[in-house]
Every structure is written in C-alpha cells, then in structure tokens.
C-alpha cells in the first residue's frame, strides 16, 4: 500500500519533470507523460482491489504520528473516486496527443507537464487525511489550472481567466483562514481527530466551521451563487483542458465537502444545503437551455449536476450519501466524455456553435453514437449509469420525505434532457448551415482522438453494467464515512509499516 499510494502522487509529478526536460522531443515527451499518469492509474486500481479486500489503510508520510505529520488515508471512498479520476486524466491526455497538432489543441510543451502536476495534486487531494495538505493539493491543482486555462493567451481566455483566478484565490484564502479557525477551536487539523473533536464543540462554533467550509468547498464546486467563474472560463479553454476541468475540478470540491461534512457530522446544515442544491440544479439547467454553443451548454450542466450531489449530501442519511457518491462516480466520466465529443464535433465542423453546424449524424454517425450514449446517461435515462445515480439520490430524498427537493430534481432532469435535445437538433440533424471547413487533422491523430473517446464511452458503460457492485461499494463507503469510527481507527491505530 505504501508503494501504491506513493506512486499515485509522485509518478505523475516525476513524469511532469521529465516531460519538461524533454520539451524539444515531442514523441518521448508524450510517452513519458502517458507512462507517468498510466502508472498512477494502475496503482489506483490496485488500491481499490486491496482496500476492497483488506479494508482501509493509512500511510504516515515520513513516519510521523497523525497528530504531528501528514497521513494519506486510502479508505473506500477515496479508492472509489481515485481510479476514475486518474483514468479520466489518462484518456484526456491520449485525446490531447491526437488533438494538439491542430489549432484547437493545447500547447503540448506546457499541457503535458502541467497535467502531470495536476494529476499529482488530484491524487493528493483525494488521499489526504488532513486539512492543510488538502489546501496544498488544491493549490497544486489550481496553479496548474490557471496556466492551462490561459496559456494560449487569447483575449477571452485572459478575460474569463481573470474571474477564475480571483474567485479561486479568494476561496483559497478563506480556506486558509478556515484551517486556522479549526486549529484554534480544536488543536488539530487531522480529519480523523477532527471527526472526534468537532462534534464535542459548542454548537455555534461547530456550525460556524461547517458553514465556513461549505462556502470554501462550495466555491470550488461551483454551487449557487458561487458558480460565476465557471460558465465563462470553461468554454474558452482548449477542449481537452475543459474536459479535465469539467470532469475533475468541481468534483474535487464536492468530494472534499462530502468527506468533511459527513465525517464531522454537520447534519444541521442539511436544510440549507438542500435549498442551495435545488437552486443550483434549476439555475444550471436553465442556463444550459439559454446557450447556443455546445461547450457552454455542457459547462452549465456541470453546475446543474453538482446540485444533485449536494442534494445527496444534504439529506444526511445513509441512502443520501450513497446517492451522492454514486452520482459523483457516474458524473466524472460522463461529463468528460461529453466534452471530448464536443471536441470531436468542433474538429469536424470547425465550430462548436449550434447554429453554424448541422447534419453531422448523416456524415459522421460514429460521433452521433458517441454523443448519444453519455448524453442520455447525463439526462438520467435507463439503462445508463445516470439513471442509477439519479434514482439513488431521488429515492433517498423520498425516504426522507423531502418532497420539494425531489420535485425540483425531477424538473431539472427534464430541463437537462431538453438542452441535450437542443444539441442533438443543432449539430446532428438538419443541414450544415455554413461552409466552415473541418479542421485538417492527420488520420493518425484522428484515430487517436476517436480511440480515446471510445475508450471513455466504454468506461461509462462499464459503470452502468456493474451498477450493482458500484452501488454496494458506494453504500459501504457511505456507511464508513457516516459512522466515522472506521476512519478514526484506521488513522490513529492502523499505521502501515
């Protein structure tokens, strides 16, 4: 486990260093990046198997006790999310290698190394067992994302990048303040010790901490009304970058929220979370309906879908948390695939605007199929993973007799389906409205892009096929989080030698 945990964090960072050194050699640079991220991905799957069989495990960095040092905790929740997160980055990197020789692609000299650093940050954020390391991991992710977002230096990228940087810096500052507050109130920032000490605090202090971190993680997760940075900045970035961001960044925010608020038992915040979840769903879905560009529609969906995860969390019941975890697992790959397909469309139509493209279903049926599967899944139609996830969240809502939020969730689902139909009508049916040429791409690169997208679609289908076992795993992970005893014992006693 020691080796596996280290690999997921360090391998991508080493690969980033090597890729930076090999800047002038495109072939070996790409190979090194793929190998680094690939190794981390393999290690994460091995961790899933190990933890599933032998239970949660802890690595004490530098051999320090949890009160003093950094612990990395591989519990079931972490090892469920980690393999999917890393697989997404791997697939996108493959896609990026195909795409980057066109005008739409990211600058490979920067994108390779930065994706490596981002991967290391994502692994660290998912595995870490204390708040300050979580802050460092967020910073690793954010600093690389700032550059990835704006490195092409186009006018609208810089403009929306500005909002992105300011909002996230603000959230990071609040995060740091929050860490200080927590330390002042409890004398520790280790999550396992916090799970013991926060419930003993005065209810005012306790809820203050909960609300503070709800704002911090909420900004990262783009919940209403803190989402303003997202729909402007995501669509302007190169497709591959947007695909990674949409699949991962907001999800790391909601992941941290699920972990922190469930472990520390912030049940009283539930009603507020539910209200915000409802507004987030509807505002995101309505925003999507109003757009006329594929990437912008998909960006608003990111917001809307965060609402469902927040709803699962806000119910603060075993079924609700299970639903939130399941939704997270389903949503990450599906969202990424949709953006990758958006990239394919852009490549073939020369634009991602709905009004300027059309008739792609007749010319490129493959793209139509690749789009239809994740789109139906996102809208929550059976038999895809989205149906299982949405069903879990909504049935958890019915169990808690939270009627209002259930109605809102179903309504937002219809809106989502409507905006997917809008993409379908605009891009795949009708005729090509203007004569915009496809972006010239070498056959090899095109094949690589299709292969990566196909792989990702296959991945989402796998989740649907094994929905039963994924559901069971999510349920176990949710129970571990809610009781928090298992987590505390793993961290304080189970030192991994």
């Amino acid at each position: 486990m020691n080796l596996l945990v280290t690999t997921t964090v360090i391998a991508p960072i080493l690969a980033a260093a090597a890729a930076l050194l090999l800047r002038a050699h495109p072939k070996s640079r790409d190979v090194v990046t793929i190998v680094g991220i690939g190794l981390a991905t393999l290690a994460s799957y091995a961790m899933l198997i190990d933890v599933n069989a032998n239970g949660s495990q802890t690595v004490r960095v530098g051999g320090w006790a949890p009160e003093l040092g950094i612990v990395l905790v591989a519990d079931l929740f972490a090892v469920l999310v980690l393999p999917i997160a890393l697989s997404i980055i791997l697939v996108v990197e493959i896609f990026a290698i195909g795409q980057r020789r066109t005008a739409w692609g990211a600058n490979p000299e920067l994108a390779g190394p930065l994706l490596g650093v981002l991967t290391g940050g994502v692994s660290l954020a998912i595995l870490t067992g204390d708040l300050f390391t979580l802050f460092v991991a967020f910073e690793l992710i954010l600093v690389s994302s700032y550059v990835l977002l704006t490195h092409q230096g186009q006018r609208d990228q810089i403009r929306s990048g500005m909002t992105y940087v300011v909002m996230n810096l603000l959230a990071s500052t609040l995060f740091l303040f929050g860490v200080a507050f927590v330390y002042a109130a409890t004398g520790t920032i280790n999550l396992a010790l916090l799970a013991e000490r926060i419930p003993e605090l005065d209810s005012g202090v306790r809820l203050g901490i909960g609300a503070w971190f709800f704002v911090v993680f909420g900004t990262k997760a783009a919940v209403f009304p803190l989402f303003s940075w997202l729909p402007d900045s995501y669509p302007t970035a190169p497709t591959t970058i947007t695909a990674v961001f949409a699949g991962l960044l907001t999800k790391i925010g909601i992941y941290s929220m699920i972990r922190f608020h469930t472990l520390t038992g912030m049940d009283e915040l539930g009603p507020i979370m539910l209200v915000i979840a409802g507004i987030t769903m509807v505002v995101g879905a309505l925003g999507a309906l109003a757009q006329s560009d594929i990437k912008r529609i998909l960006s608003f969906h990111v917001i809307s879908q965060i609402g469902y995860m927040l709803m699962g969390l806000g119910l603060f019941s075993a079924a609700g948390t299970t639903g939130a975890i399941l939704f997270l697992l389903h949503h990450m790959p599906v969202k990424t695939v949709l953006f990758l397909v958006g990239g394919l469309i852009e490549n073939h139509e020369g634009t991602s605007s709905l009004s300027r493209s059309g008739g792609l279903a007749a010319r490129k049926p493959v793209i139509a199929v690749l789009f239809a599967i994740p789109a139906l899944s996102l809208a929550g139609l059976p038999p895809f993973s989205g149906f299982v996830a949405k069903f879990a969240v909504i049935s958890a809502g019915i169990d808690e007799s939270a009627v209002a939020i259930v109605v809102v969730a179903l309504f937002a689902g219809i809106l989502t389906l409507l905006s997917m139909t809008k993409i379908w009508l605009g891009v795949f049916w009708g005729t090509d409205a203007d004569g915009l040429e496809a972006v010239p791409t070498a056959a090899n690169n095109r094949r690589l892009m299709f292969a990566a997208t196909g792989l990702a679609v296959a991945g989402t289908l796998t989740i649907s096929f094994f929905a039963g076992s994924v559901f069971d795993l999510s349920q176990r992970a949710a129970e571990e989080l809610r009781s928090s005893d298992a987590y505390i014992t793993t961290v304080t006693e189970g030192a991994q030698e």
Binding site: T6, R60, G62
Partner: protein, 148 residues
C-alpha cells in the same frame, strides 16, 4: 532599460550578487532547524537573478530545465525511502565533525530543499522572461560612447 544606462546600478548589482548568494546559501542550510529553508533561499536567489536580468548581466537562462531538475530531485528524495522499506519522505539525519564549523547536522531534507530552491528560482526567472524582461534588457543597452 534605465538600469542598463547606469554604471552605478550595474556595478552595485554586480558587487551585491555574491553577498546575496551567500545569504541564500545560509538560509538553505539554516532551514533545517531554524527559520529559512529551500523556499526562502530560492526567493533570495531569484531576487539576485531578477536584478541581474534587469541590469543585463549574466544569469541562468534555461528556466525550464531548472524547474524540471528541481521537481525531479524533490520527487526522487520523496520516493527514495521506499527502497529501504520506510514510508515516503522519511528522513535520514547525518551529523559530522567538520573542522572550523564544528558539529554539522544535515539530512536527506537538504537535497529536498535544494530541489525546492531550483524550482523557485526557475519559476521566478520564467515569469520574468514571460513578461519580456530579457528582451527589454538586451534591446536598450547603449553602445559605449553613445550614438548621439
């Protein structure tokens, strides 16, 4: 560039560089038990390099390699303890009697700090180059004797 026109600035920076580097090296070694460390040392070295850039003096050029080498060093130091079966980032401490300096204590944290220093210096210079500092310093160095 104004600094390049002024021999006082150029000379001053040239004279101050070795002293500032000495401070940086001190911080790098002091960081183990006292205020200092790789990041602080990197900032001091970065400041030296930035001043030298402005004055058009010699300084490291290959910023990418600096960052990459630093990252690689840090990552290798982090992973190395695994070879002996220890958790990552575990420290080995060495102390030795050195004439003049007395008892010196150091450890595997030192190469880690050196790596951090390299990353910081590399990034500072990369940002300066990104802002066009080098071109600015080069384009306006006046010919000795003056054209007008």
């Amino acid at each position: 560039m104004i600094a390049a026109h002024s021999p006082i600035v150029r000379l001053g920076i040239r004279a101050a560089s070795p002293l500032a580097i000495l401070v940086g090296v001190y911080l790098l070694f002091a960081g183990h038990n006292q205020p200092g460390g790789g990041f602080a040392a990197g900032l001091v070295f970065g400041a030296v390099a930035a001043l030298r850039t402005v004055a058009g003096l010699q300084r490291p050029i290959n910023t990418g390699a600096l960052v990459a080498a630093g990252t690689a060093l840090v990552a290798v130091v982090a992973v190395a303890p695994l070879l002996w079966g220890d958790p990552m980032l575990d420290q080995q401490i060495v102390s030795a009697e050195i004439p003049l300096l007395g008892k010196v204590k150091t450890g595997s944290a030192l190469p880690f700090d050196i790596g951090v220093t390299a990353i910081v210096v590399g990034l500072v210079l990369a940002v300066l180059d990104g802002l066009g500092a080098r071109e600015l310093a080069e384009t306006s160095v006046p010919k000795p004797g003056g054209a007008k």
